[in-house]
C-alpha cells in the first residue's frame, strides 16, 4: 500500500497499540458490513415473506454492532485516531490489484482522481458552500426573530412527540388485544364439554319435534335416579335464567354428572347453543 499511518514521535508501544486497535476496528466494521449486506439481501430477495420481527432482529443486530463500534472508538485504550495523519506517498494511474482486492473491487486505481475523494477529511465543497450560506443567514437574524423561531420549533417538536407517544400506546394496547384474541376460554370450556358430554350437540329438539323425544327425553329420564323434584327445579332454572343456569349449577356441592346432563338437554332445547 502506498498509504502509511504515521504518528508524530510515536514510540514502539504506541504504534503497536494503534495497530491492534485498527485491527479490531477493521474486524468490527467487517462484521457490520456483513450484517448490512445480509439485511439488504433479505430486503431485496425475501421481501415477499419477510416478517416484521425478523426485520426488527436485523435492526437490533445492526444497532448493537454500531454501538460496540462507538464504544470501541471512545475507549481510553484506543489512541485518538484524529491525531493520525494519512498521506498518500505515491499516486499511480495504473491498475492496482492489491487495492482492488482490499476494497473488494470498488477502487481499481489509486490515482489523483480518486485520492482526494477517499482521503478527504472536510465536507464536500458543495456542502461547505451551503453551510457557509446558512451561517451568514443565521448571523443576519435579529434576536427577536430567532427567539420566535425557537419557540415555534419547540412547539412543533412537543406536539409531534405527543402524537408519537399516543400512537405508540395505541399500538401497544392493540398488540395486547391481538395476543389475547388467539383463544377464548369460554370456547375451550364449551368444546371440552361437547366432546366429553355431548353438550350442545343434541340438536334434535330444535330441528325436529319428532326426533326430540327419542334423543332427549329417555336420556334425562334414565339419569333421573335422584328423584323428580330435582328435575323440576333444574328445568325451571334452565328456562327462566338461561345464562345464569350454567353458573348456578357449576357451583360445588351440586350433584355432579346427572344434574348437568339434564341441564345440557334443557339448554340446547331452550336456546340456540351457538351463541357467543
Amino acid at each position: 500500500m502506498q498509504v502509511r499511518a504515521e504518528g508524530p514521535r510515536s514510540t514502539q508501544r504506541e504504534e503497536k497499540q494503534l495497530e491492534n486497535s485498527i485491527d479490531v476496528l477493521i474486524n468490527q466494521v467487517g462484521d457490520l458490513k456483513k450484517s448490512l449486506a445480509s439485511f439488504i439481501y433479505k430486503l431485496e430477495n425475501e421481501y415477499e415473506h419477510l416478517t416484521w420481527p425478523s426485520v426488527l432482529d436485523s435492526f437490533a443486530l445492526l444497532s448493537g454492532q454500531l454501538s460496540t463500534l462507538n464504544k470501541m472508538l471512545k475507549n481510553d485504550k484506543t489512541p485518538l485516531l484524529r491525531n493520525q495523519v494519512i498521506i498518500p506517498l505515491i499516486l499511480s494511474p495504473d491498475r492496482d490489484e492489491e487495492i482492488m482486492r482490499v476494497t473488494e473491487g470498488r477502487v481499481p486505481v489509486f490515482s489523483h482522481e480518486v485520492v482526494p475523494d477517499h482521503l478527504r477529511t472536510k465536507p464536500d465543497p458543495e456542502v461547505e458552500e451551503q453551510e457557509k450560506q446558512l451561517t451568514t443567514e443565521a448571523a443576519r437574524l435579529t434576536p427577536d426573530v430567532a427567539l420566535k423561531q425557537i419557540q415555534s420549533l419547540n412547539k412543533m417538536c412537543s406536539s409531534l412527540l405527543e402524537k408519537i407517544n399516543k400512537e405508540e400506546r395505541e399500538s401497544e394496547s392493540g398488540g395486547l388485544r391481538q395476543n389475547k384474541s388467539t383463544f377464548n376460554p369460554a370456547d375451550t370450556s364449551a368444546l371440552v364439554a361437547a366432546v366429553t358430554f355431548g353438550k350442545g350437540l343434541s340438536n334434535r329438539r330444535p330441528t325436529g319435534p319428532g326426533g326430540s323425544s327419542v334423543g332427549g327425553q329417555p336420556n334425562s329420564a334414565g339419569m333421573m335416579s335422584s328423584g323428580p323434584t330435582l328435575q323440576q327445579v333444574q328445568i325451571s332454572m334452565g328456562q327462566n335464567q338461561q345464562q345464569m343456569s350454567g353458573v348456578a349449577m357449576s357451583q360445588p356441592g351440586q350433584p355432579g354428572k346427572m344434574v348437568s346432563n339434564i341441564k345440557t338437554n334443557i339448554k340446547s332445547a331452550s336456546m340456540h347453543p351457538y351463541q357467543r
Binding site: A190, V192, L201, N203, N219
Partner: protein
Amino acid sequence: MTDTDALRNAKRSTRIDAWCGYTMEAPPVSAMPVSGGTINMMEYLLQGSVLDQSLESLLHRLRGLCDNMEPGTFQDHEMVFLLKGQQGSPFVLRARRSMDKPTMPWHLRYLGQPEMGDKSRHALVRNCVDIATSDNLMEFLLEMGFRLDHEFVAQGHIFRRGSMKIVVYKIFRLLVPGSTDSIEALSLSYLVEVSVVAPAGQDVISEEMRNFAEQLKPLVHLEKIDPKRVM
C-alpha cells in the same frame, strides 16, 4: 346376526370375552376398572382452544415444533353410545369412523373417569381402551342394548411429537341425526388436544407435555381441564 342376538339376551350380565379379546363389565360399571389386555393403559390429556383466525399461526408453530412428518388432516364422525343399568352411571362407549378415509377400520374407545390428580401432575389422566373394529360396529352396539346418546363430526389436523399426539379440530353438530351431510360448526374455535397413551403411573410424561404446552403459549393455553367444571 345370530351372535349379536345371543348377546342382546345376555346384556344384563354382559361379559363379552369373545369380543376382540377385551373384557367389559356392564352395570354397575363405575366400580370396575376396564383394562385393555394385560396392561392398564392411561391417556394423559391437555386441552385448549384456538380461535379460527389464529388457526394458521398455531398450525405454523406446530409444523415447526412437531416431528417431521406429513401433516395430516382428518374428518371423523363420532357417535357416543350409552348402556344404562338399573343403578349407577351409564356405561359410555365412543365409536368413530373416518369420513375422508372410508376404508379405515372403525375405532371403538372406552374412556374412564378422568382423574385430576394433584399439582405435581400436569395432565388429566383417564383410563382408556382403544380397539379397531369392523364397520358393523353400530348395529352390534345397538343390538347389545346401547343407545346413541349424541354424535358429532370432528374435522381438523393431527401432529405427532415423540409419543405425543396433537390434534387441532373443529366440532360440528349434525343437523339431521345420523346424516353427516348437513353439519354446523359448534363454535368459532378449534379444540386443541395434546394426548399420550401410556401404561399407568408414568407421570413423567405429563412433565414433557407441560413443557410442550409452554411452547404453544400465548397462542393457546393448554390446561388440564376438569370436565366436571365445564359441564
